[in-house]
């Protein structure tokens, strides 16, 4: 195989072990072990699931704005359907959109390319990971159509509601929901093993720890967090399945079980999970900002240490989700303190990002706009979170739309804005072509403005006492007053406007991928290794085997005073000292 690869070293794929040229469609697109293809599979699946999740949001927002009316494209929404839609919207958006796109998609795409490796360490494990993930996606969608309908016990699946069919009335939907989530975890465990090993063992010669770009650091830290936190939840999921199907009572107080136990197992995973998706998005933002501010990352090492510290701390905050679950008030105090503590490193990171921008020569490209928007919007999410982390205020805010607006101001920037920064930035690497900037900017403003108009009203509704997961507020006279109903309609209309603007993105994406202008090797004049492949869109193997990159310096050498170019690629050998003088 090695000789064969060498023969092809100079072909237009620029690839290494590209030993099957007449591969069938099936082998190329569905059975590939190439990390870039697997990345695309994850991203496309995630984008498909995002369309489903967004459609669900459209349906239940319509129900809230115009209760009882037929929703165009769906029909009337019954209370059970409403619950199933909300539950599966949340589950899908987090486990089948944020996770696959941010961790699996960008992890697969970027880790080998940015550390200068030809593929993941375990390519077949990688392929298996995607296949299991795909099965899990099919199961969760299938679960919506079984007898009794999809699971409606919320994405947190609190027992006893989730544990007993006589309460939730969705015997099959509830079990399929647990199975789907479990399969998805198995898939990401496999992916995580690959990410961590590849970043540790396959780095280009000369690449020291701090020469690794921030986004790779963050992806690896996120993978470690995931692997360390998911075990207890898998245990909990098995117990829940047993409760549902074997008649055990682990979570059923009637049988001596403890429902709050599930909450501990769930949130012990659930809170680190927030950082599992947050860190990749912050990493993408950091890299995009450095490129388009033409500056070094401010305090690069400190940012990395901070992220590690945040990761560790994130294991000690979980009970802030349970302040009103009857936990010991002394424990609530402890978790208030840890929660307020963890906001310090995150705030610090936001300041560091702003400091990175300071004095830069900023280029307002589409990816840069998304990166800037990420910091701005995420700040709103972070600041409102402090009220919820303090147990006193949370007693009032718990389970209101204030919480809902808060976490959408964190998740939407992560899953949508951060992702779009990454997709628009690495698009040339994925498809060898450029996206249209004008359409990109139209889509940007068409998303950001309606996004804020959708969720800012929800803060006010929540502060006025509007509870989450309610099918129809007409039954609550004090919540059905006109000003509240008008805000609900405003939020729904803004959502529809935002969804319409996504068509611009899809059009731009597909058209650019098929017929956009060809990208040059390094269209953004960046320094990191993924832009040093022989062609813009490298084949399997990334670099020709005789031209694997070496690494000579850190990832953010922009505007170096001693140089003519304002960027200094990581793989460029240091010039002879005499020549420089």
């Amino acid at each position: 195989m090695a000789e064969h690869a060498a023969e092809h070293a100079l072909d237009d794929h620029g690839g290494g072990h590209d030993d099957h040229h007449d591969v069938s469609f099936f082998h190329k697109y569905l059975w590939s072990t190439d990390h870039k293809m697997i990345a695309k599979q994850y991203m496309f699946t995630g984008m498909g699931m995002a369309v489903i999740g967004a459609f669900m949001a459209y349906v239940f927002r319509m129900q809230l704005a115009f209760p009882g009316s037929e929703v165009p494209g769906f029909g009337a929404v019954s209370p059970g359907t409403y619950n199933a839609l909300v539950t599966n919207h949340g589950t899908i958006m987090i486990f089948w959109v944020a996770m696959p796109v941010l961790i699996a998609g960008f992890g697969n795409l970027l880790i080998p390319l940015m550390v200068g490796a030809d593929d993941m360490v375990f390519p077949r494990l990688n392929r298996l990971s995607y296949q299991i993930f795909l099965v899990s996606a099919v199961v969760i969608i299938y679960s919506l159509f079984v007898q009794g309908g999809g699971f409606g016990g919320a994405w947190t699946a609190y027992p006893p509601l989730s544990a007993k069919a006589e309460y939730n009335l969705t015997p099959q939907g509830a079990s399929l929901w647990v199975i789907a989530v479990g399969l998805e975890f198995v898939a990401f465990l496999m992916g995580g093993i690959n990410f961590i090993t590849t970043a540790m063992n396959s780095r280009a010669p000369g690449m020291k720890a701090f020469d690794v770009p921030i986004v790779i650091w963050f992806l690896v830290i996120a993978s470690i967090l995931f692997m360390a936190s998911v075990g207890p939840l898998i245990a909990g999921a098995v117990m829940l399945l047993f409760d549902q199907n074997l008649g055990t009572g682990f979570f059923d107080p009637n049988q001596g079980g403890d429902p709050v136990l599930w909450q501990h197992l769930f949130w012990f995973f659930g809170h680190p999970e927030v950082y599992v998706v947050l860190l990749p998005a912050m990493g993408i933002t950091a890299d995009v900002m450095c490129v388009f501010a033409r500056k070094k990352m401010f305090a690069q090492k400190i940012v990395i240490y901070t992220a590690i510290a945040t990761g560790v701390l994130s294991f000690f905050v979980w009970a802030h989700h349970q302040f009103i679950s009857g936990i010991d008030p002394r424990m609530a105090n402890v978790f208030t303190v840890t929660t307020v503590l963890i906001s310090i490193p995150i705030a610090e990171m936001c300041f560091v990002y702003i400091a990175t921008l300071y004095g830069g020569s900023i280029r307002l490209t589409t990816p840069m706009l998304w990166a800037l928007a990420f910091v701005a919007e995420f700040l709103i999410g972070g600041v409102t979170g402090i009220f919820l982390g303090a147990s006193g205020t949370d007693i009032y805010f718990h389970d209101t739309y204030f919480v809902l607006a808060h976490f959408h101001y964190t998740f939407f920037p992560i899953a949508i804005i951060g992702t779009l920064a990454g997709i628009t930035y690495w698009f040339p690497k994925m498809f060898g072509r450029m996206m249209d900037e004008t359409l990109g900017k139209i889509h940007f403003w068409g998303t950001i403005i309606p996004f804020n108009m959708t969720f800012i009203p929800l803060f006010f509704l929540g502060a006025a006492g509007q509870h989450r997961r309610i099918y129809d507020y007409s039954n609550f006279p004090e919540l059905a007053v006109p000003w509240m109903q008008n805000l609900r309609i405003l939020a729904t209309v803004s959502l529809i406007v935002m969804l319409v603007f996504q068509v611009v993105f899809l059009f731009n994406f597909i058209k650019s991928a098929l017929s956009g202008p060809k990208a040059s090797k390094n269209p953004w004049q960046a320094t990191t290794l993924e832009w040093t492949t022989a062609t813009a869109e490298p084949g399997h193997g990334n670099w020709p085997p005789d031209a694997m990159p070496n690494c000579y310096r850190g990832p953010y050498e922009y505007a170096n005073p001693g140089r003519e170019d304002d960027f200094w690629p990581q793989d460029e050998p240091p010039a002879d000292t005499e020549e420089q003088a």
Partner: protein, 172 residues
């Protein structure tokens, strides 16, 4: 493998802490629950020794493998498999006994956690035993590599290492 076992360790940690929470939350501190059979502490202690011994023998096999090549490890690897197999079968026999005495997964929290935790361990033991058998077959065929041996052995050590903790938590 080490990464995977880290995640596995958290799985067991989750199970054990869940068990502790329920056990300590029992009203009146009645544990084991009244009317439920006692777990066979002594028999299981014998069985535990068999498992521990298999770990030691495997370590010797590994040393022989490194020092004197595959064939030197043959007998010891086989002994590991026999001891491990004994453990799993004995454990299965114990389950049959307990089921006969009325301890089922539904009969009480104790039953539920017993079968859940010991069952999870048993699944791991069977999986790791299968790995050992594969390694043994490869050894006979003369193509057992060091990496494969090390991976399989690590998994078995994990099974051996987790058991005393479970024994202490569940039985004692």
């Amino acid at each position: 493998m080490a990464l995977f076992l880290g995640a596995e360790a958290m799985l067991f940690a989750g199970l054990i802490s869940a068990f502790q929470i329920v056990k300590n939350g029992v009203t009146g501190g009645l544990w084991p629950p009244p009317g439920q059979p006692r777990l066979p502490v002594l028999e299981t202690a014998i069985n535990t020794s068999a498992l521990m011994a298999s770990g030691v023998v495997l370590f010797l096999a590994w040393k022989a493998f490194k020092a004197d090549g595959a064939m030197a490890a043959k007998g010891k690897l086989l002994a590991t498999i026999v001891l491990g197999g004994f453990f799993v079968l004995f454990q299965g026999w114990e389950w049959v006994q307990l089921l006969g005495q009325g301890l089922t997964i539904r009969s009480s929290q104790m039953g539920g956690f017993f079968y859940l935790m010991v069952g999870t361990h048993a699944l791991h033991a069977v999986g790791a035993l299968y790995g050992l058998i594969v390694a043994y077959r490869r050894l006979l065929e003369g193509n057992l590599t060091r990496e494969v041996f090390a991976t399989v052995a690590l998994f078995w050590y994990f099974v051996v290492g987790v058991w005393p903790v479970l024994y202490w938590q569940v039985y004692l």
